[in-house]
Each structure stands twice: as C-alpha cells, then as structure tokens.
C-alpha cells in the first residue's frame, strides 16, 4: 500500500515543514499525556476499587440475604414470643436454624394468640432457605450475625528485666461480626511476635506452642540492655568493657560507650575469657551480670522452647551461645505452621487496623463486655479475648468498629443480647470464588427462593448494593464516568490539534496530491493517506502514553513517596487507600483509552482527508 509509505513520509519531521512537524509533535505529546493520565487514573481507580471491594466483601460476603419486614411479621418469626418452648423470646436466625421444631406453639399450654396475628404457616423459612442455598453449585453459605459490645484491651508493654509491664488500656464500643474471610489480614510483624513471647512469659505459660507455629531466625537486644550469659564469650576473646561500681563492689559490666546516667562509678577496662575464667582488668569475676546495650543483632536457631541458639558479633568478634528468648526482641521470623499459629489464641479476635495504629499488637489480651440475661436478670457479661490479627476495613464508615470474632463468640454475645434489634445486620452470607459472578449468583438465589415462595422474606443483595457500600460504589462509578467523559473531551481537544496539523499538511502537499492524482491515484487513496496520518499520530500518542503509564504505574509508590516527602505528608492517605497502590495496568482502561483515541484521531483525519481529495488537480498542477 503506497498510501502507508506516503503517510509515513509525511509524518517524518522535516526542517522544511517546521510548522507541521511542531504541531505533530505537540499533538502526539498532548494525546500521550491524556492517554498517560487516563490509564494511570483508571488503573489506580480500578485497583483501589478492587481492593476496597475485597475488603468490604471480606467483612461481609459478596452476596447477602437479610430478612425483610415480611420475615419479622411472619408467624414463623413472631410465634416464638408466644411459646413456652422458645422461652417466650424471639429467636435469631442461627437459633432458628438449629431449632428442632418449626412451630413451637402449643395451644394447650401457651396463651391464645392475639387477634390479627400472622396466619399460620408450616414452612420453615430459615431451614428451607439454607437448603436452597446448599443446592447452588460452588456456593457456600453461613449465617452472619452482628452483636454490639464494648471492648477493653489491656496493652502490657515495657516488661523490663523484672517482668513488670506498664499497662495501657483501650476501651471502645464495637460490633462483633463473624467472618471466615481473611483476605485483608495485615501481615504479622516482628513486634507482634515479640509481644506474643512477652505475653506468654508474663502469664508463665509454655512457649512451646509458639515455637512450633513460628520459626524465629533473628533477634535483637533491646536498647535498654540484655543480660548476656557469660558463656556467650569465647575462650581467648578480649573485649573493651566498662565496669560499674558501687564503692568497691563491681555491680555489672557493659560493653558500649553509651552515656551513663546512673550515679555509679565507672571504670573502663577489658573483659577477657581465659582458661574458662572471666577476667575484668585481669581480676577474676564471678556472677557479675554482663549487659549488652544497644541493638545487637543475633541470628537465631530455635531449640527447645524457650531456648534459642544465638550467634552475633560484638566489637568485631563472634559471640555465640544458647539463651532463653526472654528479654530479646524478635527481628525476623516466619510463620511455619499457620494452623498452629491460629490455635495459639484464646477467643481470637481480629481488629481493624486503627487499633494497630493505636498501639495494639497481636497477643494483647482483653475482654468484651455486653449486656445479657444472667442468672439474676440483665447483667454485664464478659468474655476474655485475645488479639489474633489485624485487618484493613477499607473505607466502610463503621469499619473501624467491626471486630471479627469466632462464630461461637458472636452467637454467644448475640443470643445473650438478642432483643429483636433489627439495626444490627444479620442474615445469610453467601460466598463463592469469583466476585464477578455476584450478580449471576444473586439471580440464581432469587430464582430458587421464588420457586419455594421464600423470596418475600429475604432481601438478596450483592456487595455493591449493601447500604454501607452502595454510596461508595455509586460514587466510584460516578467518578469513573465523569473522568471518562473528561478524558474523552480532552482526547477530542488533543485530536483537534491533529486536524490543524493535517489541514496545514494538505495545504503544503497540494502539489504532491495533484501529481499523485495525475498519475492515477483515486480520491479515496488520497483521502486515506491523510486519514492514516491522523490515525498514526493518534496511535503514536496512545502508544507513548501507554508506555509512560506502564512506567508510572510500576513506580507509582516511589513517585508518590517522593511527592509525599516534598509536601511533608502522604499523597494518598493509607486510611482510605491501600498501603501500596495498584501497579497493574487495567486492561479495560487501556482498551477504553486506545479505542477513544483511535476513533478521535480517525475522525480528526476525516476533515483534512476530504479536503485533500477535493483538490482540483489541473489547477494545482498549473499553479506550481
């Protein structure tokens, strides 16, 4: 196709066509910028949307069935309040599911039902619904419950050599929710493991389960000092050391040059190990504690709990030995057995990351308290809990208050407090592997409920229809639409540059157009040359923009980090966005932007192409 060759020639920048070349470069640059910004925006937005969606779904489920008013007005629900078998109390969904009887009402013993009471029905709504859900392929369902309680966490910190920690307390009102999903759990940190070790030791429990679950590979000594067993020093080694005296009595020895604040006298000297004896300034010492100050790192190998085999460097010399983990801080570890790790906790709760920011660590203990019927009527009930992890609640308004707890604990709290409180969400949580199937699964559920006449009792919602997510998803969709519109408009504006450039090009190439026409080129061929020019420009802009976008997305966190440092605070707050931003180019964004720019640049080529094809050959040849 000679049209391609001619179009290519026209687009190669030439000094003789400076204006055309400059306008072409500007057009390509503007399109590249628009494409770049659009792809980065859409990709980041899609990534954030996906991560938010995952977080929201992690807290609930991709599809939920919540009881409607019809359920609460039904005979099935109301009848418990009139039945002795049900203790004259309404039942939660879970209780309904576990209850052996559908209709507990016994007219011979229970009082008569009031006039206008809901008509009797034999259908067991909850059990029938559960069986419908069980029949759907690749779908799991469970009852989710929410219970309100107040949480009190005791943060024991700075255990010190005497194992006498300082206590901080976090008290807050919260909602307990059962959740099987763990997709948004934050990673366990070395600080968490240190805390678990300290808590275990504080309660004088065995570290053996922890050592089975976790492999500790590196520890560091705390800043305030660690009492090092003398066996760590190797035969023949000499260290510069400082002796701390009270009068003539050597109390302890340190190794660092740290400024001493105590009133003790200090004596600089050398500590040596010779013939199995420890000598400080050539004087033999016995049972004098040796303190390693500062953060000295040891590689660790776990032995029988709580012992570690440690190897480190002090003053350039290798020291090694076996010591209890007590007083050391974990620096590196791996979770060797996640199942054993999960079993370490007593009534494990997973807290929103706000608690972590407030200083809570895995292993911290506390209790939840809630109002419930005890032996003496309404009273404060308590259950002890232990922090087993943290999760990122995303941007759900009440996300910071939702505590994920084992279903038994939630049930226990919920059944104690269950006062027909419909403000606390409850229902069936329906889970399946692919979020994109949500609407399809919903349709199937609705269909199967309709078949059994149960649909009026349930409000079936997908994750983007939940009351607390609806606004966010709608806002995100609206942001996306708005930006799509803006990017389409900007792309059209950018492509209008192409029109100007091509009109000038057509004018410049009048003679050549006439020559080609004289040699037999059709009007269509001439038009396609300029159409192709527009298309090439648009596409090279798109390609350049896409490359920029890929590079930008791969370095987005670093770029935002630099901007953040320059402005002194985070560019995108990790409270709202994830800790790391998405770096994948969104396929749909790429397709959208490339299609828009291709169409816009082709349209931009049409006007000049028509103009070019209409040139009067005879006149153009004569005027030269």
């Amino acid at each position: 196709m000679y049209e391609f060759a001619v179009a290519r020639k026209y687009l190669i920048p030439r000094v003789r066509q400076l204006s055309v070349s400059i306008i072409s470069l500007i057009s390509v640059f503007v399109i590249a910028t628009v494409v770049w910004l659009s792809i980065v925006f859409f990709s980041v937005q899609e990534g954030i949307e996906q991560s938010w969606t995952e977080k929201m779904v992690a807290l609930t489920a991709p599809v939920r069935l919540t009881p409607t008013a019809a359920y609460y007005q039904s005979y099935y629900y109301q009848i418990d309040a009139y039945s002795e078998k049900s203790n004259f109390a309404n039942k939660s969904l879970k209780e309904k599911l576990e209850s052996p009887v559908t209709d507990p009402y016994d007219p011979s013993t229970d009082s008569a039902l009031p006039l206008g009471f809901a008509p009797k029905s034999d259908i067991d709504i909850v059990k029938e619904t559960k069986s419908s859900l069980q029949k759907l392929p690749n779908v799991t369902s469970s009852i989710f419950e929410t219970a309100s309680c107040s949480l009190k966490l005791k943060l024991l910190r700075d255990f010190g050599p005497q194992n006498s920690p300082q206590e901080q307390v976090i008290v807050t009102n919260a909602f307990l929710m059962n959740s099987g999903q763990k997709k948004t759990d934050l990673p366990v940190s070395a600080k968490d493991i240190t805390n678990l070790v300290e808590q275990t030791l504080f309660h004088q429990l065995s570290l053996a389960p922890l050592f089975r679950a976790v492999t500790i590979s590196q520890v560091i000594t705390p800043t305030e000092g660690w009492k090092m067993p003398p066996s760590f020093l190797q035969e023949g080694q000499t260290f510069s050391a400082i002796g701390h005296y009270s009068g003539n009595k050597l109390l302890y020895i340190t190794f660092s040059e740290a400024e001493e604040t105590s009133a003790l006298q200090r004596e600089r000297g050398s500590l040596a190990k010779k013939n199995g004896l420890l000598l400080f300034n050539a004087q033999e010492i016995h049972n004098t504690p040796l303190y390693l100050e500062g953060n000295i790192s040891f590689t660790a190998k776990q032995q029988d709990a709580p012992k570690l085999e440690l190897q480190g460097i002090l003053q350039g010399k290798r020291i090694q030995g076996t010591s209890s983990i007590e007083g050391l801080q974990v620096a590196a570890f791996s979770i060797a057995n996640p199942d054993s790790f999960a079993k370490l906790f007593n009534n494990p709760i997973v807290l929103p990351k706000g608690f972590k920011d407030a200083g809570a660590l895995i292993g911290d203990e506390g209790h939840i308290s809630y109002q419930g019927f005890g032996t003496t009527g309404m009273q404060d009930l308590r259950s002890s809990v232990q922090v087993a992890g943290f999760y990122d609640p995303g941007i759900i308004p009440i996300g910071g208050k939702i505590i994920l707890a084992p279903p038994e604990l939630v049930s226990q709290v919920q059944s104690s407090t269950f006062q027909d409180d419909r403000s606390l969400p409850t229902g069936f949580a329906v889970d399946f592997p692919d979020l994109k199937m949500a609407h399809m699964v919903k349709a199937e559920i609705v269909k199967s409920l309709e078949a059994k006449g149960l649909n009026k009792y349930w409000n079936v919602q997908t994750y983007d229809e939940y009351e607390f997510t609806k606004d966010i998803f709608q806002q995100m969709k609206s942001d996306k639409n708005l930006f799509s519109l803006i990017s389409v408009i900007i792309t059209i504006v950018a492509c209008s540059n192409i029109i100007s450039m091509l009109i000038i090009l057509v004018h410049d190439k009048r003679k050549e157009i006439a020559i080609m026409r004289a040699l037999g080129a059709t009007k269509k061929s001439i038009a396609s040359i300029f159409g192709l020019c527009g298309f090439f420009l648009g596409m090279s802009g798109s390609l350049l923009g896409t490359l920029f976008a890929i590079v930008t997305l791969h370095n987005l966190n670093a770029i935002l980090g630099i901007i953040g440092k320059l402005q002194g605070f985070e560019v995108l707050s990790s409270t709202f966005y994830a800790n790391t931003l998405p770096s994948e180019v969104s396929g749909s964004a790429l397709l959208f932007v490339i299609i828009v720019s291709a169409i816009a640049s082709m349209i931009a080529g049409i006007v000049p192409a028509i103009q070019a094809s209409r040139i009067n050959t005879s006149e153009a040849l004569r005027n030269e």
Partner: protein, 224 residues
C-alpha cells in the same frame, strides 16, 4: 491505418467564474499510434487547459473524449491516466521528498503492481536515463535536466499509449532540451506510441509529425 490512441470530438471549455469565458469550443483531434502532435499558440489561448482535458486531468464543458478506445468518464479517468497516459510537465512535478527510484515507481505503486517484480525494469530504465547512480537521491537534489529525465522515465514506466507533454523543455538549456526531445521522439518512434506536446518551442514543434495552432478558441492544423 494506425490505431487511434486519442480522439477528441467537439471539446468545449467554458469558465463561468469570475466572468463567463468561452476558452474554446468544437475542438476535435485524433492522434494515432506512432504519431507526435504539437499544439502551439500564444499564452492564454488555453493550450495547457486543452492538454489537461485531453489527459483527463480536467473535464470539458462539452464534447467527447476517447483514450485507447475507451470513452473517458468520471469513473474511469484515473485508470486511464494510470495505465494509458503519461505526463511530462514543464515544472517536472516530482515528489521532492521521495527518492529517484520511488518517483519512478510511483505510477506502478498507484496501480498496486508488485514493485519487487518491477524493480529490474525500473533500474534498467534508470540506466537508460542516466540516473542509475542517483537512484537513492531525493528528487529535490537533482538538476533541471535530471528532473525532466526522471519525469519522462516516470511517464514511460507504465508503458502508456500516449504521452502528454506540457512545455517539456521549457525550463531547460538548449543542449538538455535536445536530449529530452531525443528521449521523447525516440520512444514514440521505437515503441510506436503517441505524443501530444504543448510548446512554444519551434524546434520541438518542427520535430512533431503534425502541428496545430490553438487560436481564438479553435484548433487548426498549421505548418511551421
């Protein structure tokens, strides 16, 4: 009797803009294979316009034109130009940014011919035109004579039945003009093709088999 390559019957051209002007009317012309025809006349008589009409670059107000036995219509004019007519212009009309070889091959590229297959023929033609060494140069860098030789080569490459030349030697010095004339007339004679020249050059007109004078809108045979 040689085959008629170009036949114009009662060709008229009238301009309505800016003021009504009848440039010529009732012009008829027949050019046969192996025949060269010169059209002479004063400037402004419409020689180039007539040539453009004969070459299907312009449309007559009325009249009928046949090229290589095919009646010219709006739909086939580009095909006739590409396959049966060769043009040589006073101003050469080459693509400045294309190389000598690319310029030569342009009519074949427009005809969607297989350029690889045509390459030996094109290189051979360049050798005959004395432009082989310059085949990779841009047309802009050639001298006037070289440009016109290339333009003639471009007209020859698709082996047309007729060449329409508008002052082919007008911008050239005497010696170069001689060379160009030789190229054109040799081609007409050797290949038994036809040629129509619009010229002011008596020498060129004299070499043609027939000469017509375009004056006051009519074309009449004349002798020099």
């Amino acid at each position: 009797m040689s085959k008629i390559v170009l036949e114009a019957q009662k060709i008229a051209k009238t301009f309505t803009h800016p003021a009504p002007l009848e440039l010529f009317c009732d012009i008829s012309l027949k050019v046969a294979q192996g025949q060269s025809v010169a059209i002479v006349g004063r400037s402004g008589e419409g020689k180039t316009t007539l040539l453009h009409i004969l070459g299907t670059l312009d449309t007559p107000t009325s009249g009928r034109l046949e090229v290589s036995g095919t009646e010219v219509t709006l739909h086939n004019s580009h095909l006739l130009r590409n396959q049966h007519i060769g043009f040589v212009f006073q101003a050469f009309h080459l693509l400045d940014d294309a190389t000598v070889l690319e310029n030569l091959l342009l009519p074949l590229a427009i005809a969607r011919a297989n350029l690889k297959q045509c390459l030996p023929k094109a290189l051979d033609l360049l050798k005959r035109l004395g432009l082989y060494e310059r085949r990779a140069l841009h047309a802009l860098k050639l001298s006037g004579g070289e440009k016109q030789r290339l333009a003639i080569g471009r007209a020859f490459i698709s082996n047309p039945d007729i060449i329409l030349a508008d002052e082919p030697t007008g911008n050239l010095d005497h010696q170069t003009a001689e060379e160009i004339q030789a190229l054109l007339f040799d081609w007409v004679k050797d290949k038994q093709k036809a040629m129509i020249c619009v010229t002011h050059s008596q020498a060129l007109a004299k070499r043609c088999d027939a000469t017509y004078l375009l004056e006051s809108g009519t074309l009449t045979p004349t002798s020099l």
